[in-house]
Amino acid sequence: MSGAATEAGRTLAMGQDEAVGGGRRSVEAPFGKALARLGQSRPDIVGLTADLGKYTDILPFRDAFPDRFFNVGMAEQNLVAVAAGLARTGKVPFATTYGVFATRRAYDFVAIALAHSNLDVKIVAGLPGLTTGYGGTHQAIEDLALMRMIPGLTIIDPCDATEIEAATEAIAEHGGPVYMRLLRGSVPVVFEPGYIFEIGKARCLRQGSDVGIISTGFMTERALDAADALDKQGISAGVLHVPTIKPFDAGAVAEFAAGFNHIVTAENHVVVGGLASLVVETLFDAGIAKKVTRIGLPDRYIECGAVPTLQAKYGLTTDAIVATIAALN
């Protein structure tokens, strides 16, 4: 699963290492390893997948607990329905598939079978946003917007391997339905082991005075790198990391935004209905009028191609954040 060096200009084959890194240390399969560790002390945890076990890092759990692992085949509606049934017998199911299938394909089941009854099921969704070159069929570019609309569903978009491990533990304790985006394979380490993740809490990772970057998911890694680069240009950028999309930490966002004249949002998602929309709604509700520049995917389907090429084309890179912010001043 790990692997082949990413070559610019080449679409990766399914299962090839698509996680993104910038010369950082990385951890293989942080989600699957964390879940397998949790399984030791939590006999109520069960694992499920829909023919994407290899590609969603859950095999360490299957190997440790074969009697508590169920592969339902290519059937995402059934994946969610079966997970709901397991939850009703006191289990805590972690169900993996790709984000596109967990959302567009199984939406009614997530909404009615899980969230309506507040069942304790965790959906862990691979290939979030632009982390695959497979085009619109596989790129979950609007999953956060779709899932936001489901009452009671907690939504997590982790930044790195450290946060994936911490979030896996936190959602296992949460007691309600969760949708978590999965960075799979070799996942960069941005946060050191002391990093604390709490559901619903945003973290100010860097103070600044000129521009405030509010980011989620792997865009926080790039935002931090961009802030370093901007510093050298004499631009002081703060970074607020918002790994929980729902419930949204409106208080922290409003407080952070109050300190800047200009806010930049950065997300691995369309700029419709995700982080950017949440920030704008939050500021409006708080009566804070600021300029907001939105970095994210445009409101269109993305083509096939090599991930680095596509991320560069659509502005999800450190360089693109630097260029956008430098142009503001």
């Binding site: 085949g73 059937a75 059934n78 017998t89 009614d108």
Partner: protein, 282 residues
């Protein structure tokens, strides 16, 4: 109460009288609300009587008992029938039935899972069987011998998720799972919009131990349940041929039997007809 009677000594006459009581409750509820999925409810009264007063293991004083047999009503809009059964079973008060469908009543016209005895939110069709598969798997992990019964309908077989669930149930060899397929021949746009026949062959082809019976014949109903109980290795499907409106000729012959809405005076006429036809049984 663990089981209502020894499983192999069913009192068919007593179960038929129970079915009549369920139908009477349903007619009273429908009269109060003026409308309802009464056709389907009357059609599955015999199945519910056989389940709740012969086959299922449950404790009415502890509806959430972890080793109970589960009954999932996937067609949530048949709730009128489930409320009647839960009331007769002692899980909800009989006096509460008159609130069916009223504002603030917990006896909804389509089931939510907030009322005791309801195992699943039905009504968004194609949800029940997959959740039954999950419950059967969970019970297996716990080494419980409790079983899972899922009612679904012929129209519901048009939802693809039904077949996703059917595939997985046979893959996992869930022999404690029983699908009760209510074939009443009606759906929202009228007589079954897509021909689902041969229904039993479809379930067999998906790896299920399948039987096919007259769903309004109590002796056959009890026999099919016993047969399902005594076979191992596969999930079971019982294909029930039911008559919508069973017991009330005026509903049995109505073209509107999918959803029945008439005024109170007409309901009184229907109830009188029912008592004349079925009431003699009790």
């Amino acid at each position: 109460m663990l089981r209502n009677s020894p499983p192999d000594s069913a009192d068919i006459g007593a179960l038929e009288r129970k079915a009549t009581r369920l139908r009477r409750h349903m007619l009273t509820m429908a009269r109060g609300q003026g409308q309802g999925y009464i056709g389907q409810g009357l059609g599955i009264a015999d199945m519910l009587a056989a389940l709740y007063f012969h086959e299922l293991r449950y404790d009415p004083h502890s509806p959430a008992w972890s080793d109970r047999d589960r009954f999932l009503l996937s067609t949530g809009h048949y709730s009128i029938a489930l409320w009647a059964a839960l009331a007769e079973a002692g899980i909800i008060p009989v006096e509460e039935l008159i609130t069916y469908g009223a504002d603030n009543s917990r006896l909804e016209m389509s089931t939510l899972d907030t009322t005791p005895g309801v195992e699943v939110i039905g009504g968004s069709l194609g949800h029940g069987l997959g959740q039954g598969v999950g419950q059967a798997l969970g019970l297996r992990v716990d080494r419980s011998d409790a079983r899972v019964f899922v009612e679904l309908s012929d129209g519901e077989m048009q939802e693809g998720s039904t077949w996703e669930a059917a595939m997985s149930a046979s893959h996992f060899r869930l022999d404690g799972l029983v699908a009760l397929v209510d074939c009443n021949g009606i759906q929202a746009d009228g007589p079954v919009v897509l021909d689902m026949e041969p229904v039993a062959d479809k379930w067999r082809a998906f790896g299920w131990q399948t039987s096919e019976i007259d769903g309004n014949d109590m002796r056959m109903m009890v026999g099919a349940l016993a047969d399902a109980r005594n076979r191992n290795g596969k999930p079971k499907a019982i294909v029930l041929r039911t008559l919508p409106g069973k017991g009330v000729p005026r509903i049995e012959t109505s073209e509107k039997s999918h959803f029945f809405r008439i005024d109170v005076a007409q309901w009184d006429g229907i109830i009188a007809e029912f008592e004349k036809t079925m009431g003699a049984a009790q």
